[in-house]
Each structure stands twice: as structure tokens, then as C-alpha cells.
């Protein structure tokens, strides 16, 4: 099977090594295992926000992304699933984490499965996933899985007091929910049309509601030039991507921004 959904992992840990990054690793491995069990070999794109902090601040003040941040936003836009992991700061997600999500255009993640996770010094903050993270992803119209994964310092402490390694169970459960949604979307649901009609890689896309999505593949097409160096997967695993048709003309789509969509003027005039 050549199907290769892309999982974008956004982590906002600041220290190195970071418990947030470690939790992200475990979530990704669990999601990978769940998808593999169904015959899909996921590609994983890692977006570590610490390295993008300057780019995020510049985007906020300048209004457009550049460099590694732009490539990361492109990779995120193309992803079939999101794993978002933030440390808990002052009873909520970190400012860096929120600033990053403030930069994504509305409507870009409609229906995209998302696994929400966080780390914190104490389990007393664990409801932060439901009080802070979940509203954010509800606004983004992402399809957040029911199980959020909160890992407190105790969870990383080694011996589980209950002896049942409940963190791993939560991870597996959430990853399973994520994988099920990814697979379900791949089969095709009439309720999800995440990107509308857009010629990926082209500067131009004509918005005609009568037309269906241009790509026949259940997975979104990937523009390999936009892959960041965080990409862990080998292109050899996904020959169908390399064979994807090249953009029609002027492959000048700027990094970090969605393709432009045109509504024919006659329709604009009609209001």
C-alpha cells in the first residue's frame, strides 16, 4: 500500500531535552503504529516552535512569514493530521504556542484530525487541555480527538504508582482515535472538503463550487520543495508523491501562505 498520510507534530517545549518533545515522540510513535496496523505508512513532519520563535515574532510584526517558519506553515497546511503538544505555562498553553496558531489562516484545518497534548509540573493542570487547548482547536474547526493526553512530572517519574502505566494507555488510546479519523477521512466523507478547489503549487485557483477536489488521491498532494528539514520520512517510501503532476506555470507560490483563490468577477458583482 502506497498511501502515506502526513502527520504534522507541533511542539512548543523550550528546554532541551524537553519533556514536551518527548511526549510528542511517544504520541507520534503510537500514531504511526496505529496507522501501520491499518496498512498506511505515515510521513511525519516535525515543527519545533523553539527554533521558530524569532520567525514567529517577525511574522506578527511584519505580517508575512519567511524562511523556516514559512516552510513549516506550508507543511502544516498539507498535513492530514495534527499532533499539538505544549507545555503548561501559568495554567494554559504557552504564549509561543498560541502565537504560532495565531498565524494560521482561518479555515485551513476544517475537519483535520488533531491530537491535543500537554505537559506540566503537576497533574492538577490536566484540565488545561479541555479548558484552553480544546477551544482553540474548536475555533480552528479541527477534529480534535476525544482523548487529550496530559503528562505531568509524575508520569515521567518512572514507577507508576498504580503500576499500570496509565500515560502509555492514554497515549495509545488518543493515537488510536487519531488514526481512525485519518483513515475515515481517507475513505472520503462528504462533509469534509478542507481546501476547496485549489491548484496546489500554482499562484492561481479558480473557485467554482460545481467542481470537485482536483486530486483523486485520498491523501493530499505534497509539494516536495516545501518539505522542511524536520521531515523524518524518506521520499522513497512515497513514490506516488514524486510522480505528482508539476504545477501548470509560474511555480512562484510564496512559502508560508495559501494559494490565492479567484472568484470570477461576474459572481462578485452579483454580491
Amino acid at each position: 500500500m502506497t498511501a502515506a498520510p502526513t502527520i504534522a507534530v507541533v511542539t512548543a517545549g523550550l528546554s532541551q531535552p524537553s519533556s514536551t518533545a518527548l511526549l510528542a515522540d511517544r504520541l507520534v510513535e503510537a500514531a504511526r503504529a496505529a496507522l501501520r496496523a491499518a496498512g498506511a505508512e505515515p510521513r511525519v513532519v516535525r515543527i519545533d516552535l523553539r527554533g521558530l520563535a524569532h520567525g514567529i515574532a517577525d511574522h506578527l510584526t511584519m505580517g508575512f512569514p519567511s524562511g523556516e517558519l514559512a516552510r513549516s506553515l506550508d507543511a502544516l497546511r498539507e498535513a492530514d493530521a495534527i499532533v499539538a503538544v505544549t507545555p503548561t505555562f501559568k495554567a494554559g498553553y504557552s504564549g509561543l504556542f498560541k502565537s504560532f496558531w495565531d498565524l494560521v489562516p482561518d479555515g485551513e484545518f476544517d475537519g483535520v484530525p488533531a491530537l491535543l497534548a500537554a505537559t506540566g509540573g503537576t497533574a492538577r493542570h490536566s484540565l488545561m487541555i479541555d479548558t484552553a487547548l480544546r477551544p482553540l482547536f474548536a475555533y480552528l474547526k479541527a477534529d480534535a480527538v476525544p482523548t487529550g493526553v496530559f503528562a505531568a512530572t509524575d508520569d515521567f517519574g518512572g514507577a507508576d504508582p498504580d503500576g499500570d502505566d496509565s500515560l502509555q494507555r492514554r497515549i495509545d488510546r488518543a493515537a488510536g482515535e487519531l488514526a481512525a479519523r485519518v483513515l475515515w477521512r481517507a475513505v472520503g466523507s462528504p462533509t469534509t472538503s478542507p481546501a476547496g478547489v485549489t491548484a496546489r503549487g500554482s499562484a492561481l485557483a479558480v473557485d467554482e463550487s460545481s467542481r470537485g477536489r482536483h486530486d483523486e488521491s485520498p491523501w493530499r498532494e505534497h509539494d516536495d520543495s516545501s518539505r522542511s528539514r524536520h521531515d523524518e520520512s524518506s521520499h522513497g517510501n512515497a513514490p506516488d508523491h514524486d510522480a505528482a503532476p508539476k504545477p501548470p506555470r509560474r511555480p512562484s507560490r510564496p512559502e508560508g501562505l495559501p494559494p490565492l483563490r479567484v472568484t470570477p468577477f461576474e459572481r462578485l458583482l452579483q454580491g
Binding site: 511584519m62 508575512f64 492561481l204
Partner: protein
């Protein structure tokens, strides 16, 4: 190639000495800058329209008429005229009057304005920004191309048997540019009518500007007004220069660091790397400006922002003197040498009169033999069948 300057008319504190010009000083400075533009041989002077501090440009046609009376050759324009909150009938009247007074040395650039609170002061709603721009311009276009207009729409009281006075000079309306940074609908609008498209360019990375211009060019061709590379494109630019590049960077740094739009954000060096801003020597300004062609193609109008961020008038005038001596002649020579013969010059009143005489005025939406026209025909016959 038309080369000129555009001003937002901001009243901003000079960060190096803490002084802020009065509105009166700023308004008079705009006139002095326009006169200097004429003196050094620039083609265009454009001024913005804003209705809120810190800007002192609420009445552009008054300012431009005053400048017109003191200049001979300068083409007077706007950056931008607010098509959303200004009654299109008033735009047709004010700019029509200006066109007569200035003997045709007038065009205008339409923009929406991005300050939410301004809209309700004029009875409008920013959430209707794009529909306002679409409908209001549709009316303005009719007022400038039809003698008697009967009209009704969503945003204005209807017009019955309305005849504009004065009618456009020589029956030729001022040329219209549509300015937009990131709204594809406006590029589409410019293409539909065969008007010009202007991208502010200066706060954006070149890939993004190129994407908007590509879109406009493709749609211009679609509507049959010419090939994509014959569409009428204008760009913004921004520089600060001294003969010694290090001196320019040292002097401009505090202005950059505290500038209203991009100050307190990225470093000046990053901003120079990612946007059209050049702070350096005349040669560096020339090289950067000529590089715009790489992503915008051969274009017709280049306007520079030179008088913002609290720069004193004296400095601005020095900048323009240096530009006239060192940069302008080289840019003219290089643009002329690079432009293929089939790419048109920017429209002027004289060329528009000629175009009208030749029966070559663009038809909104394209003639029947344009790609758009053929699509319409196919849709019609398909529906009949």
C-alpha cells in the same frame, strides 16, 4: 516607465530629536515634496486618503489641485482613494473637476482602507469592504462612461436620470489603478475592467507580491485586454540613501526602528533582505529596484515611499535631489532597454485619448472573442441545448 513617489502623509515624531511637525507643517511639506518631485523630473506624485490621525490627508483632491497649479508636468495620483467609504458620485465629481483643472495630469488608485472604526463615520461597515469596493466602482465606472445613468444598488440611494458634471475631459476618464496587497478579488476586479493593478510591495516579501501580480496578469489575459505581460502593473518601493552606504544605514536606523508599520519588529537588515527596502548607496537602490522585474515582469509604474516615519522635510528633499542626480537617469535607461516593444507604457491622458479614438477602449468583462467571452458563449449555448 513612470517613476514617482507616493506618500501616506503621516504626522510622525522624529525619533532622533523628539519633534513632531504640526498638521499644517506636514500638509505644506507634502506640497514642497511634490514640487521637488517635479523639479527633479519625476513623473508621478501620489498622496493617500485617511480620515484619522496620525494622517493629514483627508482631502486629496484639494491637495492635488493646489499642487497642479504649481507644476507643469507632474502626473497627480492617489495612494489610495477610498472607494469603500467615499460616495462614488463624489469621486466622479471631485476627480473629474481635478482632471479638468490639471489638463488631464490626473489618475487615481482605489483602495479599501483597513481601519475598521473609519467605516461607520461614513455610514459603512468594514465587513462589507470588498462588496463596497465592487459595487461602488461599478457605479463610478458607469458614471465615467455613460452620459445618463440610472442605477440602483445595495449601498447607496438610487440614481434616476443622473448626469455627471463635469463630464470627463475629452470624454476620457482618468485612468484607474486598483491597489491591494492580499485580496485576490481586487486583482480580479482590475483585470475585469482592463484597469491597472498596483501592489504596495514595500512591506511584503517578493514571492507574495509576485503571486498577486501573476494572478492579475492571468486574469487580464482571460478578459482579453491583452497578453498577460501587457497588463498594467505598478509597484511600491522604499529607500533611504546617502552616497556612503554606511552613513545611510547609520542615519536611517532610528527611523526604521521606530517606524509606525514595521518598527519594533524585525531588524532593518532582515527587512532589507526580505522586502524592497534599500538603505544604502544610490547604486544599491538602483540594483534593488531593477530586481523587482524578476518577480513583477515588465511593469509600468514605480512609486517610492520617501517621506514617512518622521523623516524631516530637509532630509526628504535631499533624498530626492540625490535620487534625481544618481538614480533616476539610470533607472530610466535600464527600464527602457529592458522593456520589449509589445509591452505598453503606463497610460496617460494623451494615450487614453488616442486609445479611445482608435476604438480600443477595454470592454469590462472582455469582448466576445476573449477567453472570458468564449466561456460566456459556451455557457449560453450549453444552457440552450
Amino acid at each position: 516607465m513612470q517613476i514617482g513617489i507616493f506618500s501616506v502623509g503621516d504626522v510622525t515624531q522624529d525619533p532622533t530629536d523628539g519633534t513632531t511637525p504640526t498638521e499644517h507643517e506636514r500638509i505644506k511639506a507634502s506640497v514642497a515634496i511634490a514640487r521637488k518631485a517635479e523639479e527633479i523630473g519625476l513623473d508621478v506624485f501620489a498622496i493617500g486618503q485617511h480620515h484619522n490621525p496620525p494622517f493629514a490627508t483627508s482631502s486629496p483632491t484639494t491637495t492635488l489641485a493646489y499642487i497642479a497649479a504649481q507644476t507643469e508636468n507632474l502626473l497627480l495620483s492617489t495612494a489610495t482613494t477610498l472607494i469603500t467609504t467615499t460616495d462614488p458620485v463624489r469621486i466622479a465629481e471631485d476627480y473629474g473637476m481635478l482632471q479638468h483643472l490639471a489638463d488631464g495630469r490626473v489618475d487615481l488608485m482605489l483602495g479599501r482602507g483597513n481601519t475598521g472604526p473609519v467605516y461607520p463615520w461614513f455610514g459603512k461597515d468594514i465587513r462589507q469592504g470588498v462588496p463596497l469596493a465592487i459595487e461602488n466602482y461599478h457605479l463610478l465606472h458607469r458614471l465615467w462612461h455613460e452620459e445618463v445613468v440610472n442605477w440602483s444598488g445595495r449601498f447607496r440611494t438610487p440614481l434616476q436620470s443622473f448626469t455627471l458634471s463635469p463630464q470627463p475631459l475629452d470624454d476620457v476618464a482618468p485612468f484607474v489603478w486598483h491597489g491591494s496587497i492580499r485580496t485576490p478579488e481586487i486583482a480580479e476586479q482590475a483585470a475585469y475592467y482592463g484597469d491597472g493593478f498596483f501592489h504596495n510591495n514595500i512591506f511584503w516579501n517578493k514571492e507574495f507580491t509576485g503571486q498577486m501580480i501573476d494572478l492579475y496578469r492571468e486574469r487580464y489575459e482571460h478578459y482579453g485586454h491583452g497578453a498577460a505581460d501587457q497588463a498594467i502593473v505598478g509597484l511600491g518601493g522604499q529607500f533611504f540613501m546617502r552616497r556612503n552606504a554606511q552613513e545611510a544605514r547609520r542615519e536611517f536606523h532610528p527611523y526604521f526602528d521606530n517606524a509606525p508599520v514595521y518598527g519594533h519588529g524585525p531588524t532593518m537588515e532582515d527587512f532589507m533582505d526580505q522586502t524592497p527596502l534599500t538603505v544604502g548607496s544610490p547604486q544599491e537602490v538602483i540594483e534593488k529596484t531593477l530586481s523587482f522585474r524578476e518577480y513583477a515582469g515588465d511593469y509600468q509604474r514605480q512609486l517610492f515611499l520617501v517621506d514617512h516615519a518622521g523623516l524631516p522635510l530637509k532630509t526628504v528633499l535631499e533624498q530626492l535631489d540625490l535620487f534625481g542626480e544618481e538614480v533616476l537617469p539610470v533607472l530610466r535607461r535600464e527600464y527602457d532597454a529592458a522593456r520589449p516593444a509589445h509591452v505598453p507604457e503606463a497610460p496617460t491622458h494623451a494615450s487614453l485619448v488616442e486609445r479611445r479614438r482608435a476604438g480600443a477602449d477595454p470592454v469590462p468583462g472582455g469582448r466576445d472573442d476573449s477567453p472570458a467571452g468564449r466561456e460566456r458563449t459556451a455557457a449560453r449555448t450549453g444552457a440552450d441545448a
